[in-house]
């Protein structure tokens, strides 16, 4: 079992003002009967005490360690004075044990206990969290690891579970209300006059164009480091949670993004990251230097530190307003250089669903970052050595050609090639005609481009020309000069279980209004729609998620895995959650094989809370009542 969780060299670092690293293992529960108690508690993060909701007295909730093929009985007791629940994210369970109040069961009343009982039919890295209200933001989340029944195709000497999260001193209800009252409330990296005069960010013409469209390209994250501290296993960047290893070991990191709202860009300067699993499903190993992990996704990564050195695990929030930080070290107390937070990205025209050659944002990389932009306390961890060192390790961002030399996988130049090719294509190129358009002249809200979307104040824009962005790097990673994971890199290790052609396809538009903080599917909020999206048991359907908004959305379906349609045939990567890039399309096939009603939603907590959710129903043929 690969060494289990780190060594037991626990020491009480809580009391120290500057932690030299906390090598605390995650509390673990296992066996056939597991008791979990949900209750309010306090937590200490970077030396400060906060209120939280924990399970069995810990935040994150204890690691649930299971074995494929076992049966498990989870007795969940709710000691809150409100309803609660647990959803086993990524686990294939009967609908009554899926844990979504109002969809799969009535929820767990205050003082009540609910028994979840099911066979464990899979292995891999998963997680669990509350599906009631906004409890997840308050700490009600934890990791699940299921060891395979047979030999694990992934070999490793040691493993660490890394649960990424975001924590705010504000109550989640207060966060939501602020977003409704002032959607830019948490963004302290907006474009300013200082930036304009300093030659940063967009030039005046673009600012005016974006202003005309009433869009803010600096709106990368709704909730940012201005209120969030980003956590690793419940510890803040100052706490410096530490994962131990012996030089030469193959160390498996099971990275889980249990955040409410934060997409992380993860890297460990000095170490190559070999991706071996995504969302609990084994993939062909892919070596990268950095990967983006959306809320609710998991990635298992093999690292092979050979030197007797410490390394910094960096989970930088996508808007660069802060970082989650941990250390990989041979001994407790060691620490490595911490790289500076990079400049925050700006949304481009492509993020608005206008993929046109030579437009918007292409030459932005040296102009990004407002001089008055604010980042959270984690920015102060950056060490001068790291700044120099990371420039070396990462390659210079100003020299994208370096990347091409490295591995021949320079995406940005590829993209340039496509566009060039397109524009040059004879006659047939409809796209080429658009290249002359001024960006303001295109109708950003033409319902003719999405007839199924309700014409509603909640729909700010309709992507006029959305494209498949599964091969695109995540926001802010276009120009980093090293290897970055993209979805098209993922190839399932084993042939997909169902390789039939989809019998039909279904478009779902991801819609929203950033000015009103409204989020929906097809222009309709969950609260306005009582009809589920229907599927027949066993039917295989292709789902096109079309992002009509300028924000990335991690979309999750309960009770099922889907296969990404990314050009890998019957080796498509299987996932439970996929980021749909702004203005882009993500396509997946899935087999509706789990009878019941299931939640389907954006896993950004406040987007779901705003209505970006549906129920999908899977019924045997002829069962529809």
């Amino acid at each position: 079992m690969g060494g289990g969780i780190a060594l037991a060299s626990f020491f009480p670092a809580w009391a120290k003002p500057v932690s030299s690293g906390i090598a605390a293992p995650l509390p673990t529960v296992s066996g056939e009967d597991i008791k979990l108690t949900i209750a309010r508690q306090s937590v200490m993060i970077d030396g400060k005490t906060f209120r939280a909701i924990g399970v069995n007295g810990t935040v994150p909730a204890p690691l649930i360690r299971l074995r494929e093929g076992q049966r498990v009985r989870l007795h969940v007791h709710n000691q809150l004075n409100e309803d609660s629940s647990i959803h086993w994210h990524g686990l294939l369970v009967p609908p009554q044990y899926d844990g979504v109040p109002g969809v799969s069961f009535p929820g767990i009343r205050p003082g009540g206990t609910y028994l979840y009982e099911f066979d464990v039919k899979q292995n891999g890295t998963y997680w669990y969290h509350s599906h009631s209200g906004l409890q997840e933001q308050e700490g009600h989340y934890g990791p699940i690891v299921i060891d395979p029944a047979g030999t694990d195709p992934v070999q490793y000497d040691r493993e660490h579970v890394i649960v990424l999260a975001d924590h705010s001193p504000l109550s989640p209800a207060a966060i939501f209300r602020r977003l409704k009252a002032n959607p830019g409330h948490f963004n302290f990296q907006r474009q300013t006059l200082s930036g304009l005069l300093g030659g940063r960010d967009q030039p005046l013409k673009e600012r005016l164009d974006w202003g005309k469209m009433r869009m803010d390209p600096a709106d990368i994250s709704d909730v940012t480091g201005s209120t969030y501290t980003f956590l690793v296993n419940g510890y803040g960047p100052e706490d410096n949670w530490t994962a131990l290893f012996k030089p030469g070991e193959r160390v498996r990191l099971r990275v889980i993004n249990a955040s409410a709202m934060t997409t992380f860009n993860v890297r460990i300067p000095g170490l190559s990251l070999q991706i071996v699993q995504a969302d609990g499903q084994n993939v062909m190993p892919v070596d990268v230097d950095e990967f983006q992990i959306g809320v609710a996704e998991t990635y298992d990564v093999i690292v092979r530190p050979t030197a007797d050195l410490a390394y910094t695990f960096v989970g930088e929030s996508v808007d660069r307003s802060g970082m989650a930080r941990a250390t990989l070290a041979p001994r407790p107390g060691m620490r490595a250089a911490v790289p500076a937070l990079r400049k925050r990205p700006l949304a481009t025209m492509k993020d608005m669903g206008m993929d046109m050659p030579g437009m918007g944002g292409m030459d932005m990389k040296d102009r990004e970052g407002d001089p008055t932009g604010e980042q959270n306390a984690s920015a102060s961890l950056a060490t001068a050595a790291a700044v120099a060192g990371s420039a070396m390790a990462m390659g210079s961002a100003s020299e994208p050609s370096a990347a091409a030399d490295m591995s021949g996988m320079d995406h940005s130049s590829m993209a340039g090639m496509d566009h060039g090719g397109m524009a040059g294509m004879d006659g047939a190129s409809g796209m080429a005609d658009h290249s002359g358009h001024q960006m303001g002249s295109m109708n950003m809200r033409d319902f003719g481009n999405a007839p199924q979307v309700k014409r509603d104040p909640g729909v700010q824009t309709i992507s006029p020309m959305p494209v498949d962005r599964m091969g695109d790097r995540g926001q802010g990673l276009q120009d980093v000069g090293h290897r970055v994971l993209v979805y098209t890199d993922l190839i399932a290790l084993e042939r997909n279980p169902d390789v039939r052609a989809p019998s039909r396809s279904l478009d779902i538009h991801l819609t929203g209004n950033m000015e009103r903080f409204m989020w929906s599917f097809d222009g309709r909020k969950m609260s306005d729609v009582h009809e589920p999206i229907p599927f027949t048991e066993g039917e295989r359907v292709r789902v096109n998620l079309i992002n009509d908004s300028m924000m990335a959305h991690p979309i999750h379906i309960h009770g099922h895995f889907f296969e990404l349609v990314t050009g890998h045939g019957d080796r498509a990567p299987r996932k439970h959650t996929v980021i749909v890039q702004p203005g882009g399309i993500a396509t997946w096939d899935f087999t509706a094989d789990a009878v019941g009603d299931w939640a389907f939603h954006c896993h950004l907590l406040y987007h779901m809370h705003a209505g970006m959710m549906r129920v999908v129903s899977v019924r045997p043929k002829g069962d529809a009542a």
């Binding site: 006059l193 070596d287 498949d468 091969g471 890199d489 396809s505 209004n513 009878v595």
Partner: protein
């Protein structure tokens, strides 16, 4: 329209799929590629309509380079495998738009190209009927489910919330007659329908309130940026006071200008109007310059309250605030106020100032 989109996406998907087996496609030959895939594969899509989807022929799929031993699995050559498809997809996309659809008919799938799984095109089977029951009602008491369902719906977009903003709350210093001024609003409700309260007014320190009003409005979102608002307005200044019925708008105009306007019909049958707008120019993340304009208009002379027809007064402001917190921002600024036309004449007759320039200091806050 949606079928066209579906076709486009299918085409893109097809494009994506091709290089999965043809992984040895070198990138060099892509720009000139003839893109046979979409044309040839398209017929499958047409055939796949029967409700019972055929199981894909267990094609002797050429697997991607199998990892002999995973741990060892050294350099997977993803540089070749992955990026090709992406660019193909984009290219196909572009071409498909122009491609006459019939061209796709009647061609067989390419020889030797075994397609399986996500490489296959989707059929066009109809969706099943929408069930009208809740599945969990079969497993749990339906009243408990109904309660939980109602709660879930409320928490997924159906909640009400509220906020209050005092954009102006300030002391105004001008030659011997220092005064105060406020302009604010509060609202409560859902995304589309809200109850609003607006109030604005001004006064002099020793003389008391010069003019002021409170409005109670029903607000309805009519587009992504604007709300239509209707209700009543009550003057709260010195007598004689009026009560008005009002209809107006409020929202964010192109260029990020906050604007509002309203027409008021008084209980004496008079009609007046008001237009207001401001712009927040961020100098830094916390230092914000706000130019603001307010115009009051009248359809007729109203001697009783000293308002003349036409544009009765204009107020120009420039305020510089520092957001200590987003909700709390002290500011300083200048405000210029001028009565115009007959309104100015009334003022002169009463010995009042027709115009005034004030230095102002206040706090903008919301909660």
């Amino acid at each position: 329209m949606s079928t066209l989109r579906t076709a486009l996406i299918t085409a893109a998907t097809l494009g994506l799929s091709v290089p999965a087996w043809a992984q040895d496609h070198s990138m060099d030959n892509m720009p000139g590629m003839e893109m046979p895939a979409p044309k040839k594969a398209a017929p499958k899509k047409a055939k796949a309509s029967p409700a019972k989807p055929k199981r894909a022929t267990p094609a002797p799929v050429e697997k991607p380079p199998a990892p002999a031993a995973l741990p060892a699995a050294p350099e997977v050559d993803h540089s070749k495998m992955n990026h090709g498809p992406t660019s193909d997809a984009v290219m196909d996309h572009g071409t498909m738009g122009e491609m006459p659809m019939p061209a796709a008919e009647g061609e067989a799938a390419p020889e030797g190209m075994a397609m399986s799984g996500t490489a296959l095109p989707a059929g066009s089977a109809p969706p099943p009927p929408v069930p009208t029951d809740r599945y969990a009602d079969r497993q749990f008491p339906s009243d408990e489910m109904a309660r939980a369902h109602a709660e879930m719906m409320k928490e997924s977009g159906g909640l009400n919330f509220g906020a209050a903003l005092l954009n102006i709350a300030e002391y105004q210093a001008h030659r011997g007659r220092d005064g105060y001024r406020w302009d604010g609003e509060a609202w409560y409700g859902g995304d589309i329908n809200r109850l609003w309260i607006k109030s604005e007014g001004e006064g002099e320190l020793r003389r008391g309130l010069d003019s002021g009003d409170v409005q109670l409005l029903y607000s309805h979102a009519i587009d992504p940026y604007f709300n239509l608002q209707a209700g009543v307005r009550q003057d709260i200044g010195p007598l004689p006071r009026r009560t008005y019925a009002t209809v107006g708008f409020e929202g964010l105009a192109p260029g990020m200008f906050e604007v509002e306007g309203a027409v008021f019909l008084s209980n004496k049958g008079e009609v007046i109007g008001r237009l207001e707008g401001y712009y927040d120019q961020r100098i830094t993340q916390r230092l914000v310059f706000q130019p603001r304009v307010e115009l009051n208009l009248s359809a007729q002379d109203i001697p009783e309250i000293a308002i003349g027809s036409g544009l009765s007064n204009v107020e120009l402001g420039a305020r510089l605030r520092y957001e200590i917190k987003r909700q709390f921002a002290p500011y300083i600024g200048v405000s210029y106020y001028r009565k115009l036309g007959d309104t100015a004449s009334y003022a002169r007759a009463r010995g009042e100032d027709v115009h005034a320039t004030s230095f102002v200091a206040g706090v903008r806050f919301w909660f």
